[in-house]
Symmetry: C2
Amino acid sequence: MFDSAELGHKLSKEAFDREEPKLRDDLLAAQTELLKRADFSIAIVIGGVDGAGKGETANLLSEWFDPRHVATHALGTGPMDHPHRPHLYAAWKALPPKGKIAVFVGSWYTRALGDRLAKRIDGERFKEVMNDAKSFETMLTSENVLVLKFWLHLSKKAQKKTFTALEDNPLTRWRVTREDWENHSAYSRVRRVAEEAIRLTSTAEAPWTIVEAADREYRALAVGKTILEAMQKRLAATEIPHPPASRLPPRPPAIDDLNVLDKLDLKAVVPKEKYDVELEELQGKLNLLFREPRMRKRSVVAVFEGADAAGKGGAIRRITGALDARQYRVVPIAAPTADERARPYLWRFWQHVPAHGQISIFDRSWYGRVLVERVEHFCSEDDWRRAYREINDFEDQLDSAGIIVVKYWLHISEEEQLRRFEERTKTTFKRYKIGPEDWRNREKWSVYRDAVSEMVERTSTETAPWTLVAANDKKHARIKILETLCERVERELES
Amino acid sequence: MFDSAELGHKLSKEAFDREEPKLRDDLLAAQTELLKRADFSIAIVIGGVDGAGKGETANLLSEWFDPRHVATHALGTGPMDHPHRPHLYAAWKALPPKGKIAVFVGSWYTRALGDRLAKRIDGERFKEVMNDAKSFETMLTSENVLVLKFWLHLSKKAQKKTFTALEDNPLTRWRVTREDWENHSAYSRVRRVAEEAIRLTSTAEAPWTIVEAADREYRALAVGKTILEAMQKRLAATEIPHPPASRLPPRPPAIDDLNVLDKLDLKAVVPKEKYDVELEELQGKLNLLFREPRMRKRSVVAVFEGADAAGKGGAIRRITGALDARQYRVVPIAAPTADERARPYLWRFWQHVPAHGQISIFDRSWYGRVLVERVEHFCSEDDWRRAYREINDFEDQLDSAGIIVVKYWLHISEEEQLRRFEERTKTTFKRYKIGPEDWRNREKWSVYRDAVSEMVERTSTETAPWTLVAANDKKHARIKILETLCERVERELES
């Protein structure tokens, strides 16, 4: 794979000086167009062997582009890396909004490559991380991020020459570390691991471009011209047809009208006296669970979904009431802001992935994609169809990072909703809770019913199961939620 | 994930009898249309727990459809499974041509599920196989195969009831095996493994449909109606736009004109006397290597590509000359037949994957996709762009199955080609080797040069490297090829 990058590509200083001004003009023009249209963003990954000039290349890009709209990130090393969070957390945080460019000198590859070289992870685990990277980039591409990946390559000889030259100069001696020389002596292993990473993550949407890096002028122009060409192509592109997916429903077309929601006994009731006792008990239990030493290395993500007026807020308050304010964060999800719309739809939820010992409670969540956005056609069928998988991947990553994922669907009958709507309309202090949109949603009851059913079918997993809650009686719902939450956390802490 | 399939879906015998004739009519009509258009094929996977009626369902499908155009396969168990070949070999062999339907009662999932249940493979390995299945199905979808996957589900209770009922009847007692009961007692593990498989391989293109299987009438109608709906949708579908990929070249846009092919010293020559001695020696060595006991568990795939008149045939004869006729197969690749065009492009090469102890020598190969098909626009840019990855996956699967992959590009200069063409025209017995197409190809020399360079860049890997061979001197080329072949096989047998 590196054959073309060991040919001795070179460019004279004069030729570079001749070409650079034109390249800069063109890059700036493309960036201006990108900013103006703001219908996609760019993520540039600069990987490569030690001494290949990754940092220099990143610096050059901030020089060439209007730096106000370019952010440079160095993931995979040091404190930026959020050790308590899923390994893609830092990458998600750093995603550029539409119109902007992010340059990753260290990327979602850096840590895995280092771990594999140092044999901290085995080959199977490495493949798994590469596969995550591939899925991540497929998602980015689908969400209108142009992903450009460069691998700056040096032959073993060229690497030695570079290191020696840097060491000979007192001003640059510090650049060469002992680790650099260690990696150099394991050069063939580095090369093999890099090749595997490139092979496993080169897709038609986001291929790697391998650049011979020994000559500084050639390297700079090669990277610059490749970026320019890709930007121009993307700016000129219209959509490309691809063969239709099979788009099967998870359940067969209606044969009978049975639905997961029918299993629920909406008549279930918990009487006042029993409720008071049980609530007290369960809140006490939850509080103790969150004080457990074992909880310091775990965290919880709780998702609340349900029809309007199903009682999500009240249920959430019964959880937070049991906890210390420093332990929880309630995240209410409304329509996305402009800033959020400018990024892949999961981005805003990644912002609230909890640190160890914490619980993040989502009042509505990423499931909006397959509920309201599906029903109201806020996104295309393609978008919500692929969302099931993206969501499962997301929750799987949370699980792998030791985060306990619980999900509640609060279900009420149409009649009960009507009763609550009318009550809200009549009660002054509840009136803010109801608007014309709520009445409109009511008309789509059966469409939502199908969407909920498909959601549960596709995303209820062993590691992140849905709990369907009969919520016509609020007390019953709250007890059920606290009970299952305590049970789940207890079981997880013991495992 | 199985919630909707534990609701107790049921259909009365009468309702079934009412609905079945209409369903059969519609299925036949859809099949007729499929046969007529023959622009896609259908692969139906029927998975599920023991006792869920997988076989019965397959039988029903051959009853409903015109059986002349439906083939039923049971992979994953027994002698059909080609233990010496890559694990997808049987699946490839069974792919239906356009217009036809294949039903897989055992599929590319069967063996992995069984191995995982019996703990013969660990979780990481299982994930890897599932990932292979996913890539395989993505490729199928891109190649116009409609992939429909069903999981027939029984709750633990329903499974017990089914087994007991079968055992109580002397006529069906044989259907329940000890393994069935063993799996039954490990039901929750079966469920967990199945869920993971479904989660890892559900994509927007090829999702799983989960069907409650306890009631025979419901199950039959559910599967039938789902297939019908998917067929009708696909028959009605036009192409769907998706966002343009970045489509980067592997090398930066031309900055200098250096190319991997330039490394070759086309002046290299091996004199006659030296050639005779070395050829003899190398052929002897190769012969001995193929008689090695260790070779009985390995095999070789050798690919020969090169410009017209580069000397592929002669080089191949120097290899086969060293071997026993039972050990090798030479596979000349010309334009695909109608039968081959009706299936994914890699299909015809899978037919020639060698058994243990064998070598398959391809005179031209799957690389046609990224060479002639690319240059002549026989396929779309999308098609050849994704081919690099599909080819790497293919060769990786060969490697995992212990097959040694060697690839040769025979390179000659434009002048040398002209000399050989003219010689062919003049020599009577060589005249059949040259036609107007060869002269036309010559005009595209530089386009081919780029395609070759990108091919080497993207597909030369540690496990399946390209060897570029300077072939202006035929003797030099042959010695080089035999030398590297012996070296590689020797090294692999030692590892």
